[in-house]
């Protein structure tokens, strides 16, 4: 669980399998890999949308850029026949809330004349340990429902990671999915390019719904859901650069800047622990004690004093936090280092919040002694994880009362 370079513990699962891209970013990557997409531009204001519609010319689609499904039903996609309509549509969509996601950007693209809607995807199937390519002639709809009600309409093919995806695979998928003869060639071409891009970009997911056939017979990716493996971002600096503005939460943003592994939750007991598994277990124990965790924060496998200070800065900046629970099991992490970091943080930040500390493992005695001798009164030590969780929950309730 340790990166010898950094000494940080992560759970790839907790942090998501990777970096999710917006549709407009995914389409840009598709275009670079020769996958046909409608020409378009991103816009953050109605004026920008108007200018973009002018440049594109003709009818356009104005599409909310949010990382959540169902935006069409929510009114996040509008077709505009004129530049004025495009501006008005952007005015309506920008700032809209779609399932808790605020729309900060729209994508304006040339409207397509849709003849047929298909579905195509490639997934990193960790269960079968092979990439899985799926294709259906029933696209543009809820594909999960298709998979359930008409499983035979969704063609699936696992790809041997060593020998790769070849034209015969693409043909087989097209025949099984019942793709129209006229569109076969275009669909096969796109499947091959998607697979190539999937590998080259270290993707965990490529999903195109719908993959359309236009009235003139062209096959085009009308949507793009792309997720890139976090661990591979070092070899895709251009994609890494897209990551910056992914969160608007102040604590999450601060954590990103400080390199702290943090996820905001909606409770009032702040949590700091080391190791993703132990931190998740800590959240569960807090909930079992009748409390609600405010966050997930993994201080890492080799937590040093300054890392603890950075972590506490993030936690203490959250006004919802009423008490803190610090749960450390020292392996590589030394409990005395954690205690020193805690004292430094309290000193620097002047916090009077109740803080419950549980220290076990490497140098636990030294760590507890440091807190006992030098910590202010708002810091208490508890002997076990369960008693510490219980105490932190009680203190949060008292503070809230």
């Amino acid at each position: 669980m340790v990166d010898p370079n950094q000494g940080h513990i992560r759970s790839s699962e907790w942090e998501g399998k990777g970096l999710d891209l917006f549709e407009y970013q995914g389409k840009e990557l598709f275009a670079r890999h020769g996958i046909p997409v409608p020409s378009g531009e991103a816009a953050e204001t109605p004026a920008e949308a108007k200018a973009a519609a002018e440049r594109i010319g003709g009818p356009v689609a104005v599409k909310a850029q949010v990382q959540v499904g169902g935006r069409g039903k929510a009114g996040g996609i509008k077709v505009a026949n004129t530049v004025a309509e495009a501006e008005a549509a952007a005015e309506q969509i920008l700032g809209m809330d779609i399932k808790g996601h605020t729309v900060h950007r729209v994508w304006i693209e040339a409207a397509s004349e849709i003849e047929k809607e298909y579905y195509a995807s490639i997934t990193f199937d960790r269960s079968n340990k092979k990439p899985l390519v799926m294709l259906s002639a029933m696209g543009g709809v809820d594909i999960e429902a298709v998979a359930e009600e008409h499983p035979e309409k969704l063609a699936r093919l696992h790809v041997d990671p060593l020998s790769g995806f070849h034209p015969h695979h693409a043909r087989r998928l097209c025949y099984e999915a019942g793709i129209d003869d006229a569109a076969m060639r275009g669909v096969q071409d796109i499947l091959l390019k998607l697979y190539k891009g999937f590998i080259e970009l270290d993707a965990m997911l490529f999903e195109v719904n719908p993959l359309i056939v236009t009235k003139s017979g062209d096959v085009i990716a009308l949507d793009a859901k792309v997720t890139i493996d976090n661990n591979a971002l070092y070899r895709h600096p251009d994609i890494l650069a897209l990551q910056e503005a992914s969160t608007s939460d102040p604590q999450e943003r601060m954590a990103q800047e400080k390199g702290v592994t943090y996820v905001k939750l909606d409770g009032d007991v702040g949590i700091l622990g080391n190791g993703a598994g132990l931190v998740m277990s800590t959240l569960d124990v807090v909930a079992l004690a009748g409390g609600r965790p405010a966050n997930f924060l993994d201080a890492g496998g080799g937590s040093k004093a300054d890392e603890v200070v950075a972590a506490l800065e993030v936690l203490l900046s959250d006004p919802k936090v009423k008490s803190l629970l610090i749960n450390i099991f020292g392996g590589i992490t030394r409990c005395d280092e954690v205690a020193e970091g805690l004292l430094t943080a309290i000193d620097q930040l002047g916090s009077t919040l109740p803080i419950v500390v549980r220290l076990d493992g490497t140098n636990e005695e030294e760590g507890r002694a440091i807190i006992k001798e030098r910590a202010p009164k708002n810091v208490v030590v508890e002997p076990t994880m369960l008693s510490a969780a219980k105490r932190a929950v009680e203190l949060a309730k008292e503070a809230a009362a």
Partner: protein
């Protein structure tokens, strides 16, 4: 007995002269593990606390008879080190390195499965058979020799549960951290099978967490194949449902990957799941009588 590592382990450490590699190789040696060699290209002929360093794994294995390799190489170079380990012919490869790209691991995994070698990890804390050998980064003071086999996706949670067991006077035959990455060399099923064959393991503790469907698969496997009793723990009930990009993922797994889903799958096969590490230890105690 025990599984995977013991007195017969002859360990070679790839990346032994790095800060972490040197620190943990030395600690493993002091625990009593037979660390016979280290590898760092360009540093052949040197030594780390008396452990001879070789330029290539090939030389190290040829000259010392190493049968187990531990990979401590940074993620950008770890795939190369893993292929080197596979080609060296060692029986067991333990990869501690975190951060290896998933597609790289998919290639390594597929190659590996064409032979008979075992890989544990990557992104794991290693393996310890208390009193015999420790290969990896686990805090050895937490573990005592005993008859419970422990297998886990999480490092610190392993230590926590071992401590809870120690408080009840229960030790371990072997503790295996299989790692938390999407692609790992050994699954719960692989390790549980090894424990089931070990005459000195009376009970198995399986520690899982959210994500994937390995716990669900293990539940099925255990109910059909394993005679040794199994107790489990799952972390992550409070984890918010991961935001799902697209729908392909939901279609293929058929499993939610949630802690609740895993708990239900295990309990449906008669495997007890503790609500916290303390309760898991109590279940173990009850089973052992």
């Amino acid at each position: 007995m025990s599984i995977l590592v013991d007195q017969n382990t002859r360990l070679v450490v790839q990346g032994i002269t790095g800060r972490e590699g040197a620190f943990h190789a030395t600690r493993n040696k002091h625990y009593g593990t037979n660390v016979v060699a280290g590898v760092t290209p360009g540093k052949g002929g040197q030594d780390v606390e008396g452990i001879p360093v070789f330029n290539t794994l090939h030389d190290a294995v040829q000259q010392t008879g190493a049968n187990t390799a531990m990979v401590f190489v940074p993620p950008r170079f770890a795939t190369d080190a893993l292929y080197e380990a596979i080609e060296s012919g060692v029986e067991l490869i333990i990869c501690i390195t975190e951060g290896i790209p998933a597609h790289d691991m998919l290639q390594v995994y597929t190659n590996l499965k064409r032979g008979n070698q075992r890989l544990v990890g990557p992104n794991c804390p290693g393996i310890i058979s208390p009193g015999k050998a420790s290969v990896g980064i686990m805090p050895t003071q937490v573990f005592t020799p005993g008859r419970v086999g422990l297998v886990s996706r999480s490092g610190t949670l392993t230590y926590q549960i071992s401590k809870e067991l120690a408080l009840l006077g229960i030790g371990q035959s072997t503790v295996v951290g299989i790692g938390g990455d999407p692609i790992v060399g050994s699954s719960f099923i692989d390790i549980v099978s090894e424990f089931d064959k070990d005459p000195d393991t009376d009970l198995i503790v399986m520690v899982g967490e959210i994500g994937g469907d390995e716990e669900e698969k293990a539940a099925q496997f255990i109910s059909e194949n394993v005679t040794t009793p199994v107790v489990s723990y799952i972390a992550g009930f409070q984890a918010p449902p991961g935001k799902q990009m697209g729908h392909a993922g939901a279609i293929i797994t058929g499993s939610s990957g949630t802690a609740q889903g895993k708990k239900e799958a295990l309990e449906a096969k008669g495997i007890r799941v503790g609500t916290n590490p303390t309760e898991v230890a109590q279940f173990v105690k009850e089973h052992l009588g």
